[in-house]
Symmetry: C2
Subunit: 720 residues, 2 copies
């Protein structure tokens, strides 16, 4: 069994959308959906750009898809083969070097396609296309840049300018901010015949005409460059120049460069397990999906919740980044973890503005953060399946734990690496502003000591507008504690905190911190179980299947007052358990075990963020079979193309970076019990019986290390 | 035109439910729906009992319907006429004395029915039934007590014991509390033939067999007595004894007693207008519907929101009683007003318990109050028309203005009559406990002066879970002010308040009152318009018709996050304007005019509580044509059988006491500008051009008076 390759034989045009996700390749700058080169718009093909957003009219803001390479026409022996049903067909994704490939047998000839989004050159998309003929005949191949772009809330590109010469060029600008987007394409081939270029109705294209001989293979190399005005003031020139450079270097060299870049990444982050081939493959897959979208080309980008697989969730950054993706990166590639957090530091103004918009002070980070920290979430985030009307949801205004999650990750970066530079470079300011937000958000009564965080949504989004969500309150309190603890971090630089507080006018807030920490309501506990929020235990307590049976439409949204879960104790995802996974030192093993036993059967796991939190706590309490089951589910999610596809009438499919990060967490933090503090690693392995060994790389204070954990023990070796 | 009679010619069996409301007769003890004597259960016939509630299983608690009189069979010349379609048919309700009558021409004979729910003897229902024959033939009439009872959430009566002798008797007990319910029936007739009694499948019955002659009229008199275990320990004996007494006194005398009782009531409360016959009739009608359900037989009963017309809204007491019904009674029949408020004083324990249930102190009065102040409202008060699932609504837990409304009415009683006895007899305690509830309910932030009432529903129920509803905040503040003002009311009895505060442990709360009054957020005002709640002005501002056009089902509930009105500025009913009607001295004419102009076009008037508040403020600002239009709508609501029939899948039809009370308010307080303070009346008439004069009775410090307001002026005369 090849533990590094996803392979799917058979041709099924209905599978386009999920294939697009499963066979996605990406390089942090762009994601190229795993659709066929000849795919039409209906198959949802896309070259999805990281960090470039646009709004059309009053539709949702979302990331921009660039023009894409497309095989417009493929004629042989007088017949058109684009759209024809092949005799045989197979798709492959090699996770090792991120190579998409397909082999299609049309009868008279075989078509082979190999594609990379170069990890060494983020603006380069390269493809090898080869035809092997069984029969003689005249062939005519037209391929180029398609401007027929699939968008969910588009179109986003306007004022197209196209050129077809030695190089194809396609220039356009986005609608909202007039950001130029340029794509160029060059083509090299080894065929004997005519190569021409021309503008077609769908975009500029090359046409190759040749007489094929039986047994002969004709190969074309495609080089596509993508630049936007955010990258360079002259994106078209850059895209053209890149094509020329790549073309002169040659396709094999481009593939090699990409391969070397991937080897370097794997050397730093690879985690692999032995004992189950299927799960070994799953872990490779999930690590590939996660690491292919890491923003290595930038210092201040984060990762959208559906990666670069499309426009789902508006291409926005969620708490997924800090809570689910950040751990793998901070342990293995701290520079990527820095980029995720620098994105938050640089978007602080957006968070300050959002807090002010809601009448609060400090930093209220967006639920769905786009460029500049702009909130991408609307007040109407679900469409009712019965009335087709938008439904007022409260993700935007009530999911206030996001600020605490960011403060938590900033503190974690310091705590894990021992490097306080991020705190110095704005991180401390973010923590103070998040703490200020909670100070202004919490409320109390004239006749009570306790302070509340009322009207919030916790991680379990099915229960909207609840009071004193255990996760939110504790994470907010941790944020207040981290603010106070900054004093000790900078005890050797007494001027630092004083100057920061002075600049932020923070005196009064600083004085309030201890009182707020003392008075903020902690969770109510019954028989050792934390109540998820005030009144949760009073909700209907019925089995998950009872709740599911009340659905009238499979696409119904489960949450809110109209949803089937809202009035019950059934929750979407880990909430109390997520808190226990994030702050393990707060809770005894016995408490974790009791809460796991209570909440797990009441959890739908309707989010890809759920299983890994349960798995981490399952490891802690020794429920290793359960942890293994949840690991399998988490690690395989994008390999098998699972996950919910709909929330009401909104498409929410794509890859699941949070689950990919979660799989790494379960394997390394859970099964191996890895914990790093100030760069020092400790391990307390608890391998499930199904696992013989886990080997993983990480970066400690001593530099990159390779750790091997077996049933007998563990060893640590340096990596060159 | 008869200004005192509702008449409806024509036979239409589909009209049963609305006829049942429009032709309702009642006497405060029971309501008898205006269905035909022979009506089957499908026509929704009922003898609805005031203040007797029952729950079946986990269905909604609702008032109990007693066994009813029914004409089981009517055979003549070998043919059955129950269920037959008549040649001609007319229904009448004489509002003067509350007499329901019908005349039905079956061809071979005429059937005439006259019915009263005696206002002089609350346990007595009496009917005259007469047959006038055009042909000779054998007649057989079977009539008696039907145990086939229509209920919405029933059945409620069990363990039936039936007797058929000289008197029919039907005894049963309610399911939840085993309250005995007894009905007895006696019959006198002038026919020549056989009278027998027997038990039938549907209940005990008399059968009359006689040979009819052409031209002959045969008359039967029915006397039905109704008692429950709440009235007497031996209800069956009482019901039988009442039948015997009434029978010996005779039907004419019973009708006369009832007529005299009505004359006495009209002498105290009648308001009539000249200038428009149609509206004169409407005003009589609405006064009849209101006064027929006044609890004159009891000292501690209030009036359900749909009167005694059935089980809609669980037969519960709403704020309607204090805000819409109370004014007419306190001006005209203070002893009834006392009963409404004594109900609240006696149900204070239920309100204390409800506050505690939600974690607050003081008195949180039920939104839908049943006996003992038990909350009848459930967490799921609407059924979704698309999924048929109950929807979580917030009427029960968030509509906190009810306590302030009750405190307001208690203060009004003192302010209008000058009689402080109600305050002494528990009213002051209720005001203090309501104030205590707001003291514990309001919340604030560490860094702000203002205190908020968060997460409430105001009078406009379409917007759920809002913060700082202008009506709620101001009425709550008025409640706090009234609590403080009690000190002055009892300044001549300094020990009274001291003892009360001592008994309630009120020291700390008393000390908080001034601070809370000062800090509680007042409404935000933009261009003179009060914002209905925080953020209301940010909602979509579109015409009512746009919102209506978004409905996918005419029965859809408009409110909440799924409703068409929720995300818009369209409101269900007067909210800011209701506040201005209740506290006119708080607002300038200019402010009222601006708010009227803003809110009226944005009001659906989806509640019968809406139009009269707009009409009262329209009178104030001189918009008399608008006031007249709203008066017509308000006064005629039950005459024409209007009003919403559905909220989601829940039937909400019935009579509209609040609108009935509202019609009186518009005529007397609005058009005549009547205002009484400590028993002293002032008038500032502003008659619409359509009105020549209004004459009304009321009770001032000088005793009962008759006031006549004309375009020239007004005069006041004593009533004997």
């Amino acid at each position: 069994m090849d533990l590094w390759t996803l392979e799917q034989p058979g041709y099924d045009p209905q599978r386009g959308v999920t294939d697009g996700n499963r066979f996605l390749i990406a390089n942090g700058y762009m994601g190229v959906r795993g659709t066929l080169l000849e795919a039409e718009r209906q198959a949802c093909p896309a070259v999805n750009l990281a960090g470039v957003y646009d709004r059309n009219g009053d539709k949702w803001r979302e990331p921009v898809n660039a023009p894409r390479p497309r095989l417009f026409s493929l004629r042989f022996g007088g017949q058109e083969y684009v759209g024809a049903t092949p005799r045989e067909h197979v798709l492959r994704l090699s996770y090792r070097h991120g190579v998409f490939s397909r082999e299609t047998d049309f009868g008279p000839f075989l078509l082979k396609e190999e594609r990379i989004a170069s990890l060494s050159e983020p603006h380069l998309l390269a493809e090898r296309l080869s035809f092997t003929f069984r029969e003689a005949g005249q062939a005519q191949v037209t391929l180029g840049l398609s401007t027929d772009i699939w968008d969910i809330n588009g179109p986003h590109l306007f004022d197209f300018q196209q050129e077809a010469a030695d190089t194809l060029l396609c220039r356009a600008v986005t609608g909202e901010k007039a950001i130029p987007v340029a794509t160029a394409m060059a083509l090299t081939w080894d065929g004997r015949g005519k190569k021409a270029s021309a503008l077609t109705a769908e975009g500029p294209a090359f046409t190759l005409c040749f007489d094929a001989r039986p047994g002969e293979t004709v190969t074309a190399s495609l080089f596509m460059g993508v630049y936007t005005g955010l990258d360079d003031p002259a994106p078209a020139q850059q895209a053209q120049a890149l094509c020329a450079r790549a073309q002169s270097r040659g396709l094999d060299a481009c593939f090699q460069d990409n391969g070397h870049a991937w080897e370097k990444v794997w050397a730093r982050c690879q985690a692999e397990l032995t004992g189950s081939d299927q799960e070994a493959l799953s872990l490779h897959a999930s690590q590939f999906y996660l690491n292919s979208i890491a923003p290595r080309h930038a210092e201040n980008l984060s990762i959208p919740a559906r990666g670069l697989s499309g426009q789902t969730y508006k291409g926005a950054i969620f708490w997924d980044s800090e809570i689910f993706l950040f751990p793998q990166f901070v342990y293995t590639q701290p520079q990527v973890a820095r980029s995720l957090l620098r994105y938050r530091i640089e978007t602080l103004p957006g968070a300050l503005q959002k807090a002010a918009e809601y009448g609060f002070r400090g930093a209220f980070y967006p639920w769905e953060s786009q460029e500049g920290g702009q909130e991408g979430c609307t007040d109407f985030n679900v469409v009712d399946v019965f009335t087709h009307r938008p439904v007022r949801t409260y993700f935007r205004d009530k999911q206030i734990h996001i600020s605490a999650d960011i403060a938590y990750a900033l503190w974690q970066y310091y705590d894990i690496t021992g490097d306080r530079s991020l705190l110095e470079e704005g991180g401390a300011e973010v923590i103070l502003q998040c703490a200020r937000f909670y100070l202004s958000r919490m409320s109390g009564h004239l006749d009570r000591e306790e302070l509340d965080l009322t009207d919030v949504i916790g991680p379990d989004e099915y229960h909207e507008r609840v009071t004193n969500n255990a996760f939110t309150n504790r994470m907010a309190r941790r944020c207040l504690e981290s603010a106070l603890a900054l004093e000790a971090v900078f005890s050797d630089r007494p001027g630092f905190m004083a100057a920061l507080k002075e600049r932020l006018g923070y005196e009064a807030d600083w004085a309030r911190l201890p009182e707020a920490i003392r008075r903020l309501r902690g969770p109510w506990i019954r028989d050792g179980v934390l109540e998820q929020f005030d009144g949760y235990f009073d909700l209907e307590d019925c089995p998950l299947e009872t709740v599911r049976s009340r659905l009238k439409d499979p696409r119904e949204y489960w949450g809110g007052d109209h949803g089937v879960a809202g009035p019950t104790q059934i929750i979407k995802q880990a909430d109390v358990i997520a808190l226990m996974a994030l702050l393990p030192e707060d809770f005894s093993d016995e408490t974790v075990a009791k809460n796991f036993a209570y909440y797990e059967p009441r959890t739908e796991h309707g989010s890809s963020l759920s299983a890994c939190m349960y798995a981490l706590t399952a490891c802690r309490i020794g429920a290793l079979d359960k942890a293994w089951e949840l690991f399998k589910k988490t690690a395989s999610i994008d390999l098998v193309g699972g996950g919910k596809q709909w929330a009401g009438e909104i498409y929410i499919g794509g890859t699941h970076p949070a689950a990919n990060g979660g799989a790494w967490m379960i394997a390394v933090l859970g099964f191996c019990g890895a914990r790093m503090q100030r760069g020092e690693l400790t391990l307390s392995p608890r391998l499930p019986s199904q696992v013989q060994a886990i080997r993983f790389a990480l970066t400690t204070a001593e530099g990159p290390r390779q750790i091997t954990v077996t049933r007998e023990g563990w060893r640590s070796e340096p990596i060159d």
